[in-house]
């Protein structure tokens, strides 16, 4: 998959920007605050319908404007040529158009253009709470399985209904237990499918992670991940369902008292290990950084094998933190194996030592105050 052109209007500091992209490596340099990240965030919007930086669409609109629009042209192996438009206005919210026709649901976009992002915030993946890791695995699976994404959305909705019932109902215990039943049935249905899919994908992912960590770190330690859920993980949905029923029964008193759903994949954890020590507790800054990098590279290669296409790879300001040797290893890997790649960098990295910016296959850009110049 690749994008040939992106047009931005009122998107952060890009009032009116149009860029033609090269099919392989695109390196974007410029000072801090020039608008480099905004460019690749716009591409992310067209792939995932949201920002990888900002928490809300509101913050993405240029401060003097009431709306933003992003348009992109894409070419892929499965769908050969199509346009995606994302528009947002404060009054009407966000809309996505594929070839000018609007999508009913924003989630219909996910998976159409597979994308992998590596950003400075990724060190949270290994150092902070389980939420970051759940959203990593959810983004990974959703892009290859629309059914998984639908299960996630359904599960979230059922859980909200169930939590509201637990919180709001003031009546006899036997009545609320009866009222909970229809929601339990759906919670178990969607939740079990999510757990089975996470088990399956994480099991396969293990080997990709080991390979990338070995490449990036020079094989000092062996990485490993452990999937933890409310029961023993399994790829068999029926098995999970039976375990879910039992776990929910066991948790009933606790749930009624705390008025919240306590059993389900929304509480899952993925624990990362290097050899046999837990990364989150004992890892050094450098190890966290290399692990996050390996996770994203592993995602890139996992997508490449699962899909009949190479994903778009966005690297936001990651080279400043890497030493010369890692920089070389990473760049070599990207040049040899990655599809279309976008790199932003504020620090002077000698990219031209590794690739030929011929303007055909690879291109270099500078950004200054929202103005983009192809070199």
């Amino acid at each position: 998959m690749r994008t040939t052109r992106t047009v931005l209007q009122n998107f952060r500091n890009h009032v009116d920007t149009e860029v033609e992209w090269a099919p392989h490596m695109n390196v974007i340099t410029g000072h801090n605050g020039a608008g480099k990240t905004n460019l690749i965030d716009a591409i992310h919007y067209l792939c995932m319908s949201r920002s990888f930086v900002a928490s809300s669409d509101r913050y993405v609109v240029n401060q003097d404007a009431p709306y933003f629009t992003i348009k992109g042209h894409f070419e892929g192996n499965i769908r050969s040529s199509f346009d995606v438009t994302c528009s947002y206005s404060r009054g009407e919210g966000k809309k996505i158009f594929v070839n000018e026709s609007p999508l009913d649901r924003l989630s219909d976009l996910i998976g159409m253009i597979p994308v992998v992002v590596l950003a400075p915030e990724d060190k949270k993946l290994t150092s902070e709470g389980p939420k970051e890791r759940r959203s990593f695995i959810d983004s990974l699976i959703s892009q290859i399985s629309p059914a998984y994404l639908k299960d996630l959305l359904d599960f979230r909705k059922v859980r909200r209904q169930r939590n509201t019932l637990l919180q709001e109902y003031r009546g006899p215990r036997e009545v609320i237990i009866e009222y909970l039943e229809p929601w339990n049935a759906q919670l178990i249905e969607y939740g079990s499918r999510i757990v089975a899919k996470r088990t399956e994908v994480l099991h396969q992912f293990q080997e990709y992670l080991a390979k990338q960590y070995e490449l990036i770190s020079g094989m000092q330690h062996k990485p490993h991940l452990e999937y933890q859920t409310f029961c023993e993980p399994s790829e068999d949905i029926q098995e999970i369902k039976a375990r879910y029923v039992r776990a929910l029964e066991k948790a009933q008193d606790n749930e009624l008292e705390r008025e919240i759903t306590t059993v389900g994949p929304h509480r899952d954890e993925i624990v990362f290990y290097l050899d046999d020590f837990e990364l989150r507790k004992f890892g050094s800054q450098g190890q966290h950084r290399l692990f996050a990098l390996s996770l994203k590279l592993a995602q890139l290669f996992y997508f490449s094998e699962q899909l009949d296409d190479l994903p778009i790879f966005l690297l936001d300001d990651v080279f400043g933190d890497l030493d010369a040797q890692r920089t070389e290893v990473l760049l070599q890997a990207l040049i040899e194996h990655a599809g279309q790649t976008f790199i932003t960098s504020a620090s002077p990295v000698p990219f031209d030592q590794f690739m030929n910016f011929d303007g055909e296959k690879n291109r270099e850009y500078t950004v200054d105050k929202g103005m983009v110049t192809a070199l």
């Binding site: 399985s145 629309p146 059914a147 639908k150 359904d154 909705k157 059922v158 909200r160 209904q161 169930r162 509201t164 019932l165 709001e168 109902y169 009222y179 039943e181 229809p182 929601w183 049935a185 759906q186």
Partner: protein, 202 residues
């Protein structure tokens, strides 16, 4: 912008509240009405007032109707032993258009949704159970025709459980699957897998 007619603005404001009508369309409709002959506009106004004042609900099935009980519930040719449960009156009108179902209806007037503060007591479930319990008119089938979203599913599940103790009542639900005239490649995976799971003998 300076308006010259407060009356026009008020009409626009009211029209803009209608579903699918923004301020722009509301202005167009208001100006259109202004150009029409008096009696045409009066007929529209009367129809709207009548709609609200004279229409009632059938006390048996709950459908929107001019008479109580409604023409479906009083029709002797309809199969009294079959009840089709739907969420709203408009679902009755839709199913009636198909001419497939010759039984009677039961309109719940909503589905269970704690987020909207709607519990089983807030929809017409007890009225349905009264009809099932009525010995003068035995029911042998209840067809659940609710939306396939989580609230519809929860309501169907709840009803099925209530109806289970009645051995003589068969509970069925409408099939979910591929829309007519569409192609498999454009069907989302969830619908397709549901259609597979509930496939029937050819």
């Amino acid at each position: 912008m300076q308006g010259t007619s407060e009356i026009l603005e008020q009409a626009i404001e009211q029209l803009a509240k209608l579903p699918g009508t923004g301020r722009k369309s509301a202005r167009r409709i208001a100006l259109y009405l202004l150009k029409q002959q008096d009696e045409n506009v009066m007929r529209l106004a009367d129809a709207l007032v009548n709609l609200k004042k004279s229409i009632t609900r059938c006390s048996v099935c709950g459908v929107i109707s001019d008479n109580d009980p409604c023409s479906i519930c009083t029709n002797p040719k309809r199969d009294q032993s079959k009840i089709c449960v739907v969420e709203e009156s408009q679902d009755v009108f839709l199913i009636e258009k198909t001419n497939e179902f010759r039984g009677r209806y039961h309109v719940l007037g909503g589905v269970i949704s704690p987020l909207d503060n709607i519990g089983p007591d807030d929809v017409r479930i007890s009225e349905l159970m009264q009809r099932i319990n009525d010995e003068k008119q035995p029911i042998d089938e209840v067809i659940l025709a609710l939306n396939p979203d989580s609230e519809g599913e929860a309501t169907a599940y709840y009803l099925n459980k209530l109806l289970k103790p009645f051995d003589e009542v068969e509970v069925t639900r409408i099939a979910y699957g591929i829309p007519m005239g569409s192609e498999l490649e454009f069907i989302d995976e969830a619908t397709l897998s549901r259609a597979f799971a509930t496939r029937n003998t050819f």
